[in-house]
Symmetry: C2
């Protein structure tokens, strides 16, 4: 398996101003793997319980996702229930039941250990570290996280951040972790602690890429069909890694294109509940939306200024 993703696999109950859906397929690894699957075959590392149906496995396999790294444990699958208010910028948790995820250690099948592209989706940073330690020679490692781990496992989280090539966070998370309001200064703080590259996901405002020597501001998309933001960040990350695995090109220009692909996949993901939009998405739609991102953001250089009166 050339590309693998470790993260949560869950059954989500989600309420937004557009409705409610119960026990639908979700979790960071699922959203990320589905987005990646439009570009490259990926394997998932995660755990499910006995209530995780055959239909879910069949759907993942229909998208060419390898499920041999999904451990089937005795008990129930991880469950998250939450809601979004009118502005839909912030998820509010009603209930979290870790269930089988609570004792998951990050078992990695032998066939995954030569993966070149590794994405550590949001999950306990100790699990991320375990999985990473089993990889033989990854060419590309990215990681995501969430506010809970910043508050509860920051030491393990720093170990992850210092080992990966690309750290993905949202703007609230990087501000919380660095205690720095300015995003450019927050990125600099991460660099001073050994982080290599930072991608800040800003939801409706697009995304930012910072490296010690480069910066890229990815445009927002004028999304007028937002239904459910759950998994947008995971879809971003999955699209980002999937496109890099597909092209095998880690040059700066292709990193930028991969960030736009991530933005494209996130923009689709939010158009329906859970994984609904990914179930019916087509490659030509991805290509056309990429063109939209260019069309909506391009502008030409000005002439040098000669001020008149």
């Amino acid at each position: 398996m050339k590309a693998i993703i470790v993260g949560s696999i869950g059954l989500d109950t989600i309420e937004t101003p557009f409705g409610i859906q119960k026990d639908i397929l979700g979790g960071s690894a699922i959203h990320a793997a589905l987005a990646a699957s439009f570009f490259h075959r990926v394997g998932i590392i995660g755990v499910v319980g006995q209530d995780f149906t055959k239909e879910h496995f069949e759907f993942l396999e229909s998208r060419q996702i390898d499920v041999s790294g999904i451990h089937r444990a005795v008990g129930e699958t991880f469950k998250w229930s939450g809601f979004y208010e009118y502005d839909m910028n912030q998820a509010h948790t009603r209930e979290t039941h870790l269930n089988v995820l609570g004792s998951f250690e990050g078992q990695v099948p032998e066939s995954y250990r030569d993966a070149e592209f590794v994405f550590l989706a949001n999950v306990d940073p100790d699990v991320q570290l375990t999985v990473l330690s089993k990889m033989r020679r990854p060419k590309f490692i990215a990681s995501d996280t969430m506010n809970f781990w910043i508050g509860h496992k920051q030491e393990a989280l720093w170990k992850v951040l210092q080992k990966v090539d690309f750290v993905l966070m949202n703007d609230a998370e990087i501000r919380e972790l660095t205690k720095e309001a300015s995003l450019p200064l927050a990125a600099k703080k991460l660099f001073s602690r050994g982080v290599a590259n930072v991608i800040i996901k800003k939801g409706e405002h697009g995304a930012l890429y910072f490296s010690p020597n480069d910066h890229f501001s990815a445009p927002s998309f004028p999304q007028d069909g937002l239904k459910d933001p759950t998994g947008a960040g995971d879809s971003f990350a999955g699209g980002f890694m999937g496109y890099l695995a597909y092209t095998g090109d880690l040059t700066p220009g292709n990193i930028r294109r991969a960030i736009i692909i991530g933005s494209v996949m996130a923009s689709f993901n939010v158009e329906d509940f859970g994984c609904g939009r990914m179930r019916r998405l087509r490659e030509d739609e991805i290509y056309r939306r990429f063109e939209d991102f260019r069309r909506f953001s391009e502008f030409e250089q000005i002439e040098p200024l000669v001020t008149t009166s």
Copy 2:
């Protein structure tokens, strides 16, 4: 006078995490005119009191700004005092004293009435309407506003919005006015009420342009030297109009460049208190920062997708 700006002229007392400055030159017309002055001569319509010093007039004239439209009234100049907390996204008002601004009606000198470029900076919408009614044949009209007028003079405000070519607002203001959380949907609501073009200023997140048939997402700038956000939106608007007056080109491609110029001028304005940065800004810095905006946001088209496994 080919280009004119009506708005407030004030003496501001501003506190940010970087310090406090008292009774410094400010106001929407001042910030806008200073930004515009790097591209084209502009005339200001506004009012000051007897405490507005000769040095302020001399500074404005040194920037080739026409001050013959500034009415000198008996009393004190408009004064605003406010502070910004750590994240500096939101101004908190301590005191507002309208003083002579409270009875200002919008007197327009005869020499301004043939202006082709008119910017109605933030001020009482009745004053904006009075000034507009005195213009003979403007080619280009833009307007800005603030939350106070949305709450207190919404009827007059709508009259302004329906008469101008470009409405500039920040994201919080358009959400408040339209009661719509989604910015693309908020813009559509404005179009349904007769608004022609909308530019949404999003501070650190860049700016959006919506017309009924076009969209442009202007990138954010990685500002690591933010000192005082006061007047950023006015500088944006002044740069936007000043560049359009300078080029005389209202084609869609040039509207985009003018929006970037607006972003450039706002990015400079926040680097010092009040008008401090504008006092020492040079044309070559503007040109180079425009290049930075391009460098930080450009990306290439992808090849059509051929998914592999």
